[in-house]
Subunit: 372 residues, 4 copies
Amino acid sequence: MVGHAFMGRAHSQAWRSVGPFFGPPLTPVMAALAGRDAVRAAAAARTLGWASSEGDWKQLLHRDDVQIVDICTPGDTHAEIAVAALDAGKHVLCEKPLANSSAEAEAMVAAAERARAKGVRSMVGFNYRRVPAVTLARDLVADGRIGTVRHVRAQYLQDWLTDPEAPFSWRLDRDRAGTGALGDIGAHIIDTAQFVTGHRLVGVSAVMDTFVPERPKPGGGTAAVTVDDAALFIGRTDGGALASFEATRMATGRKNALRIEVSGSSGALSFDLEAMNELWFYDGTEDAETAGFRRIVVTEPVHTYARQWWPPGHLLGYEHTFTHQAADLLTAIAGGTDPSPSFADGLRVQRVLDAVAASAASGAWADVEGSL
Amino acid sequence: MVGHAFMGRAHSQAWRSVGPFFGPPLTPVMAALAGRDAVRAAAAARTLGWASSEGDWKQLLHRDDVQIVDICTPGDTHAEIAVAALDAGKHVLCEKPLANSSAEAEAMVAAAERARAKGVRSMVGFNYRRVPAVTLARDLVADGRIGTVRHVRAQYLQDWLTDPEAPFSWRLDRDRAGTGALGDIGAHIIDTAQFVTGHRLVGVSAVMDTFVPERPKPGGGTAAVTVDDAALFIGRTDGGALASFEATRMATGRKNALRIEVSGSSGALSFDLEAMNELWFYDGTEDAETAGFRRIVVTEPVHTYARQWWPPGHLLGYEHTFTHQAADLLTAIAGGTDPSPSFADGLRVQRVLDAVAASAASGAWADVEGSL
Amino acid sequence: MVGHAFMGRAHSQAWRSVGPFFGPPLTPVMAALAGRDAVRAAAAARTLGWASSEGDWKQLLHRDDVQIVDICTPGDTHAEIAVAALDAGKHVLCEKPLANSSAEAEAMVAAAERARAKGVRSMVGFNYRRVPAVTLARDLVADGRIGTVRHVRAQYLQDWLTDPEAPFSWRLDRDRAGTGALGDIGAHIIDTAQFVTGHRLVGVSAVMDTFVPERPKPGGGTAAVTVDDAALFIGRTDGGALASFEATRMATGRKNALRIEVSGSSGALSFDLEAMNELWFYDGTEDAETAGFRRIVVTEPVHTYARQWWPPGHLLGYEHTFTHQAADLLTAIAGGTDPSPSFADGLRVQRVLDAVAASAASGAWADVEGSL
Amino acid sequence: MVGHAFMGRAHSQAWRSVGPFFGPPLTPVMAALAGRDAVRAAAAARTLGWASSEGDWKQLLHRDDVQIVDICTPGDTHAEIAVAALDAGKHVLCEKPLANSSAEAEAMVAAAERARAKGVRSMVGFNYRRVPAVTLARDLVADGRIGTVRHVRAQYLQDWLTDPEAPFSWRLDRDRAGTGALGDIGAHIIDTAQFVTGHRLVGVSAVMDTFVPERPKPGGGTAAVTVDDAALFIGRTDGGALASFEATRMATGRKNALRIEVSGSSGALSFDLEAMNELWFYDGTEDAETAGFRRIVVTEPVHTYARQWWPPGHLLGYEHTFTHQAADLLTAIAGGTDPSPSFADGLRVQRVLDAVAASAASGAWADVEGSL
């Protein structure tokens, strides 16, 4: 694994938990953790349960005991590491967003294609696809339970930048992060919306803003915020739906509210990550007397992923999604199939991000490249 | 109408609204309002839209332009007025609780029986039966949609006595009110539970308490609170269900939360008067994948009462229940049928109240008289 | 009053109820109801409680017993009636949207100005401003309780056109209704957003669509739907906030969900008309340990409008907003002040509607005329 | 660890996770798993990540590499194992309920006292105390944020026995389980209520029932259900509060709804385990204009336990409570202090269970032994 911050902790817990709960066909061994600083990487390896550590991720590519490279670093490093790892014959799990630009993402997709020909697999970490309630939403749409999708309303609301004194970090630096709310959390709602509906965005109109343009640096002084605090856009999908999206770090009081509501011609679905074990489903074919949005607690033995854990009504948390992701990756590698979401899926999201940024800059509708 | 306080205002609005919205077979004329004080009654008549007023309710019985006597006074006067009115050949609508004791209630039932033989009708004002969501709940139980009822959990939570400085009033005086939370709001949940389930309580075990034994009088000085602030009880029904009840004026933050949840062998229902346009329904026969409590917004054209008002999603409020009550009473009178709930239903509730008080006093299980 | 359909019924109930509950300085007399068809107008007058009727609204202007003209007709007739009534010296209450075009609305504003000079008052019927929870939201923003407004997310979701067999009506005809979801319900969220935040929209980018282009006529045959089923737009306000709006009649399962959420620099508010007695408030100045969105049940004696009705926790319904509107209009007329919202407020909303339509047609950002 | 069923899986995940997330002063090593069947124990050890296994729990007491014995077996074995382990100088974590009778529990408390004198620690596994929202509830009550506690309403609602064809298991056998819903889930709400309020139940009145008296055995045939499906009771606390409790496995549609609401003289709290990351708090000292139940998402850095995991708004799940328990146990052992809840706390719950059963049998109020 490369990186040992927030995502590194989450992925470590996944690798540790996937065996006991999913009994995957391949048993993961937590061989080595790489970081930019050898001392800090070694300490993190001890804390997070990795057998060894490296001060340079390139060392992982030379080790025979490393078959999967799990990339948990900021977006500006994804392309270099992923391409090198795939070319070295290592399976790759890469955090989202896939890259900081479509050009990088295209190079990664090309590397993934080359690797695939040799049986080497790649996957991008849109972990929220594997919230059981989101998986169920996708299944219900695919089964026709809400009819033709007409509307998507998606929001990812956080508030950690509401305070002007919240400190500067790499996530606020365009060179490291690419974009702000857009790429960090907007990428999640774009992917989730496309995953659940099966539609792709073909055009968007957007507005972005930075409400607090300068912030204190942890070590003193200030730094300019060069990314967006918030991005809003509307769009059309290839399936004829109208969609609205909002990604913001300024939604006071909303901590991690990824919300998506999908209206179809005969039903609807609603989800909020702050109540992630629930899916709300409206079945428009029911009698008017008793029709209503149902709160499904997605913890039943029939529910994908949830069935592996606890009895009904015993909730899952945030990091379980990473365990589900690990289980599916291991299953795909063992079975010689391609895991999903692919790097191509990651590129598709990247192109929407590009269109959003372009539209916000021009004030006009922007087509999503490659969508038609 | 007799009385012009809280209930008088609500009933006046009902008599005024029932024509335009329900087009009942009989058109009510708001002929006369009676109160103990002629001057105040006259003022109230002007405000509330009554054509004339009387300083003594007995005068109403002599007036030919009065066919219905609507009793909105404290419970200690119900029996006298109702019996006299019925014996005078006036139809009677009497606020709940029917009386302050079972003895009084029995006399009223006897008067109702006598009157009935002459085509004179009587009804007790358990208005919450006519919340559309409660009516729907009753219908779903009656249609077998939740199977055999096994559990009732009912609460009526208010908080207007939380503050020890909240003033003394007739509602805290045993001589006027009979009991406190028990008869005022406990009566509602008893009736609602029996109405929705079709079961009757056969035995109870109870505890009651007065947390603030003395309160300031509006004019100065203090008075002893001689009724209960809260009454809790558990019980068994004639249908084999277990039930729990709580009526309290000390549930800080709950303003008017009449909540009832009914668990059946194949489904369940849940209601909260603080969200009175909604009924939650769990259909246990659905697939486990999509089963969940549904939030039914009870404002559709198929919903009883609601259909008379506005398009779907346009909410009804508290006083609409009194209009529904008035409509049904007028329809029954015109059709020569008995309106429901009857005085006998009111007596049935009174007997549960008696059993609760007896059990709270004795510390032992108490049977409900007449229930077996 | 002119018109006796949905709005006519709602306004009639308001004129009937405002006296007993608000004791306004002027007591309304329900003198005359006008409709296009004299026979149907007469029948409606009887049902709705009006003393007389007219087959032509122009007759109202000649009657001395008519001081207020309440316009409850489709939008294409508003301008003619309102201008004539104001010029005839009658106070005017006009349903929203003020008109079907900004040109008409401008003429109405001019008439209102002329009338105002003579002490004749005018008001446009954005009744949702007078939901107690919406009034409270406005008050909290004005009092600085959420700091600087940064985000508005507003939706008005209905589903009565989800079914392709839902019949054609005047609301689907551009000549009568002007626009579809946009003017009918989009106008409400635009006004509500501007009212609550005190900001004005200065520019928008929009998309509109008609999912079902042809519908059965009630008498047989089909008709082309010439208005939008749904309109989505994003915008900027003069106060620097980013806003998103969605108005749709295709949100399956949502019956009348006017939702608005406002994020400020130190707090946030959230409201849903399907739970119209509640306002959710997040106070960002609270300790992190106990900060959270509060569900305020807006039925306390301190709450504007609500205090006139019932004790805490006893809910109000949809039509109460019209009674509040009537009370404020009567108070303004009696006090010789201008009621709010004014025709100028109505024009302001109309200009946003125009910008939305223009942007949807052009695919580019559109400025709101007169906003800068 | 002894036992490898549901609780064994949960505890294993806790021992595995406590190191990386809590960095406890002692690092647990998952040395040995014991079960009644050596072959099945060995398989479970491999799956759950234990280094070795034993076919007899007594072997654990002879192993030097075992310092803590974690008892995850049915209640009828708790006393024997716990007493032996403590007397052998092993620290003990014992699942709830502590025992199947007060006599057994008293012997365990005595053993715990003996062991304590030698620095050997014991703890009973009321894991729900360590849901961050429940811990916060306790803290708020202790800090006086809701004033004097007047009401507790506690429910633990499950529905896995609703279906009469749900199979027989040891949990339905009085000899193994002691009681049914009462001891299994009723014990949780009794402990949670006492923990949060700081009050102890002093007397109860109860009713219990078994709705489905016979069930199919997994291997064929049927078995008599000798425990309760549901237990309801009301009670008084030593602090003068009135309380109601319901534990049932027949609450159709409720999967794991441990709900507790506490009303105090100046505030209130509400919690539901089906939304376990949320605590609802009503602060009665707020202005009436904005007072309301707040939904606190208990995932902030100031929140005990939650701070160890993820950023705000990233939810925790069911098994996290066991990790919190493990962390606190290790900290107590390392610090030479007594962990909480103690065996004496477990006995206290057991005595309430006894009083409930006695009252249900007698139909009269029953005092809780040792409570006065």
